[in-house]
Structures are given as C-alpha cells and as structure tokens.
Symmetry: C2
Subunit: 113 residues, 2 copies
Amino acid sequence: MYHNNINNVKKEKVEMEGAVGAWIQWLITKERGAANYAMRLFTIEPDGKIPRHQHPWEHEIFVLEGTGIIGCCEEEKEVKEGDFLYIEPDVPHWYRNNGDKPWKFLCIIPYKD
Amino acid sequence: MYHNNINNVKKEKVEMEGAVGAWIQWLITKERGAANYAMRLFTIEPDGKIPRHQHPWEHEIFVLEGTGIIGCCEEEKEVKEGDFLYIEPDVPHWYRNNGDKPWKFLCIIPYKD
C-alpha cells in the first residue's frame, strides 16, 4: 500500500502552449506500481486556462473545489465541487477558471502501451 | 462528454458480508463509455466498516472528507481529506470509520476482460 497527501507532492507547471496559471501534481503513477491508470490533481488559478487540445486517451474528472468551465467538442459546462465528467478519447477539450479562487480537480488517465 | 454531480447518483448499500454502514455510488462506468476503469464514491458512516477482503484488481483511492482507517496486509493507516492511496491487486485490505462524521472517498478500479 502506498499512502501520501496532496500537500507533499510537487506542483509542476502545465507546459502546454497557451496554458496559463495551470498546475499539475502526479499523485498515483506507474512508479508507485499503478500499471493501468494514473491519478493527477490539477489546480487552475483564477483567470487560468488550458487551451483546446486533444489526444488518444480519455479523462475521468472529479471536481474537488472551485468552479470552472470544461469545454468539449462544441459545448461548455460550468462545473463545481462534486461534479464528475467523462471525456472520450480523441475529442477536443479545454479548461478555464471562471471563479475567484483556485479550481481543483482530479483527472485520471490510462496508461497505454 | 458526460457530466453529472454526486447528488444525482443513487447510493447503494455495500452488500459484502460483514459490511456495516457502507454505501457506494457508481459515478463513471462502462455504461457511460469508460472502457478502462470505473470511478466510485464510498461513504462510510461513523462506526461503519468494510471488512478484510481481497480481489485481483487494484484500487486508487482519494479521500474527500472525514477520517478513517485503511488497513492493508499487516498495517493500518489513518487517512484524512487530501490523502491518496494505491492498494495493489491481490492484497487483503479493509476500511473503518474512526471519526464522528461520514467518511467519503473515491475509489477507482480497472475493468478487466
């Protein structure tokens, strides 16, 4: 069993072009033995964003605090604490903090061979 | 994109023999298109528990609120909000609320063929 707390995990800047005020913490990874999927925590500052992008893997998202906009394909959803989302592989999606405090959400992705 | 909130998802009693005051909500499942892993939310009431058991799939756990004990193999950990855990496949593990309010945690499991 591996056990830790988010306060002990380094925040890394999201380096995608166009990303602003966006941070990622890798919580559970293959380095801890997790062979099938990784758990990450994102923090998006007020006015922060991750621009439209797409990739061949899905997302399972759970919103911990704050509010934001998640866009996917041609729609946008406002999300809040306790919301959860599934974003299919290979669809364009984006994130934007529309509130006045940090927006935090978990995002789980698969490990693909 | 599939979007919902935990308040809209039915709470089902955990039916395992010896489980007391334990509830599960299936948030993201293959019925929503999630082919690789499922996201569930557990609520364990004060004095509630899920007894020692094991199975061939791993857990990735994130604690949302409350406090509890997670046991695995020969050790027990007290966990709180913001804690996360990886429990390997095929190891005995158990859960017990040791606080005075509901203990809530996410638990992600793989879909195996």
